[in-house]
């Protein structure tokens, strides 16, 4: 990952996203994990915007797990039953020695983040640019996760610019 121009906060958020992905058993880092990373670090405009709209990291993690369990249900598999059968040893967490690559969506979100930075005429890549980059993909898991949490991308974007304006003024 190239962190050129990333602020401390946005770099930390991306690193935290890896931890989130690992914990949830995501064998590649998805765009929803980037949102979780932002919430986990809880610094910067993106986290502030999300929090102000009532998104907590606990709810977001739960929603991400719910998306997986719904997908399994669609092919007739109950995650709960699998868990029960396998016993206490069952956990989704990915072992520490296994590398987790960035998913194409997560990569694209970070590319878009850089474009957002340029478009806004900024010389630093902050958490707000990362979040805008994520929201750029309406088809992504992050947008769906947020929608399930009752947050529309447009609302989030609006809040982000509101907070940005306030910070600048």
């Amino acid at each position: 990952m190239i962190f050129t121009r990333f602020t401390d906060r946005s770099r930390k958020s991306v690193e935290a996203a890896l931890e989130e992905a690992r914990m949830l058993g995501h064998d590649s880092l998805g765009d929803e994990d980037l949102v979780l990373g932002i919430l986990r670090v809880d610094e910067g405009l993106a986290a502030e915007a999300l929090t102000s709209l009532g998104v907590t990291i606990e709810d977001a993690r739960e929603e991400s797990e719910e998306i997986l369990s719904d997908a399994l249900s669609s092919i007739g598999i109950s995650l709960e039953e699998v868990r029960r059968e396998a016993g206490d040893a069952f956990e989704m967490r990915i072992p520490a020695h296994r590398r987790i690559p960035f998913s194409p969506r997560a990569k694209k979100a970070l590319v878009e983040a850089r474009k957002e930075m340029r478009r806004l005429g900024d010389n630093y890549l902050g958490t707000e640019h990362v979040l805008l980059g994520i929201l750029d993909n309406q088809d992504g898991t992050a947008v769906r996760m947020l929608a399930r949490l009752g947050v529309a991308p447009e609302t989030l974007e609006e809040r982000l610019f509101e907070l940005r304006g306030r910070a600048a003024g």
């Binding site: 058993g25 064998d27 069952f90 989704m92």
Partner: protein, 85 residues
């Protein structure tokens, strides 16, 4: 009958849903394999015996699971109940 045929032939209506189920299943399968290998290890099974039942080489099982399980049970390996066969 109609219903059944359509399901078998067409699969889920939305390809995205079908593909996402694959991802969810892959992730769950990994977790399930890790758990069941660990369960067998705790039950005193050798790597060779675990590998045999999984239908893969002993090296493959060891490479994939030994480090994680060793980290989880540092020091003494769990008590082996009975001999490996």
């Amino acid at each position: 009958m109609d219903e059944k045929t359509r399901t078998r032939v067409g699969g889920p209506e939305d390809p995205r849903e079908g593909l996402e189920a694959v991802v969810a299943l892959r992730r769950t399968l990994e977790a399930l394999e890790a758990a069941q290998v660990e369960n067998a290890f705790i039950a005193g099974w050798s790597w060779a015996r675990i590998a045999e039942v999984l239908g893969v080489s002993k090296q493959a099982v060891h490479k994939k699971h030994a480090r994680r399980i060793r980290a989880r049970y540092p020091g003494e390996p769990p008590r082996r109940k009975g001999r490996d066969q």
